[in-house]
């Protein structure tokens, strides 16, 4: 008896190289869903526009959750919006990632009230939290790069893609 190892393709040279290939392609083409909820969305748009230019990092905004890998929760999440966000999140194909952008999405921010969700992590698995009210575009870029690091650190991604075991998420 010992600690049970998770089922993987193993950590041979070929499988880890294939993992790296999968991770490289995922991290280089994170397509976020165009989904702004409040003032933070303005800063998200600024990040996507010419000056900060997300396209150069392979980050293209998609208008449909079916084509998106990342959902950036940019703004205040009201309780009335929760079912909509859940539906949109469930429509995204796996693997999918969540970025909580700004104080509101991370913790409710200044809206400590009856109508506001105190952080999207109450109902979504958040990968990256970005502080700020709103975060500057540099902040969002840094958050996206952190998410890229997180994707690159995943193991057994190739195995999971062909149906052997699950992805192992490592600390960055």
């Amino acid at each position: 008896m010992g600690v049970e190892q998770p089922k993987t393709l193993g950590s041979g040279f070929i499988t880890t190289s294939l993992d790296k290939l999968v991770n490289w392609s995922r991290a280089s083409s994170m397509w976020p869903l165009t989904f702004g909820l409040a003032c933070c969305a303005i800063e998200m748009m600024a990040t996507g526009a010419a000056r900060f230019d997300l396209d150069r990092m392979g980050i293209l905004f998609r208008a449909s959750p079916r084509q998106a890998d990342v959902i950036i929760i940019a703004g205040t999440v009201t309780k009335k919006m929760v079912p909509v966000i859940k539906t949109v999140y469930e429509q995204m194909p796996e693997p999918r990632y969540v970025i909580a952008m700004g104080a509101c999405a991370s913790s409710g921010g200044i809206f400590d009230t009856y109508s506001t969700v105190q952080g999207v992590d109450e109902f979504l698995p958040v990968d990256v939290y970005i502080p700020g009210c709103p975060p500057r575009p540099e902040g969002l870029l840094y958050g996206l790069m952190k998410l890229q690091d997180k994707i690159r650190a995943e193991r057994n991604t190739f195995g999971a893609a062909i149906g052997v075991g699950d992805v192992i998420h490592n600390e960055v």
């Binding site: 309780k79 009335k80 400590d112 009230t113 009856y114 109508s115």
Partner: protein, 159 residues
């Protein structure tokens, strides 16, 4: 028609209904009893030319009786004149809808009921308009906890 002339006309027609007339900085406010609010509003629209209801809102005077006040802000578009009518409503008592007078009152009264809990008789479509459909309570009431009924109220910073 000046505000004074309108107040005189109202007093002549609804002498028993008028509780109070206040003029402050050129704004005239008439407080009326709620029983004939539809007749008064129809009179204001047809005979005084107030063809637009800018806003209908509720006020919560917690601790006073009657607790609520429904406020009608009227506008006469051709003459560019404003007028305000108020009607006190006790808690748990209904006031008649004026959505038959101005169609725009429909959504305003829904909002008023949604957030303040003031109920309107004969309203064609009394559903919540801002809060989720399954919400309980009326959050703009003064005695509604600001962080919601399901959370501990904020006690100040712990550190």
């Amino acid at each position: 028609m000046s505000d004074q002339a309108i107040v005189e006309k109202l007093k002549a027609k609804f002498s028993t209904e008028i509780i109070d007339v206040v003029e402050f900085r050129g704004e005239t406010t008439v407080t009326v009893k709620k029983e004939q609010i539809v007749d008064i509003c129809t009179f204001m629209r047809d005979d005084c030319g107030y063809n637009f209801l800018c806003d209908l809102c509720g006020v919560d005077y917690l601790g006073q009786v009657p607790r609520f006040m429904v406020v009608y802000n009227l506008y006469n578009i051709p003459a560019k004149q404003r007028f305000r009518i108020k009607a006190p409503v006790e808690e748990g008592v209904k006031i008649d809808t004026v959505s038959t007078v101005w169609g725009t009152a429909n959504w305003h009264e829904r909002e008023c009921w949604d957030l303040m809990g003031i109920e309107f008789n004969n309203h064609p479509d009394m559903r919540r308009i801002l809060m989720p459909a399954d919400w309980e309570g009326h959050p703009l009431r003064k005695d509604y906890p600001v962080q919601g009924p399901d959370r501990e109220p904020y006690q100040g910073r712990l550190s």
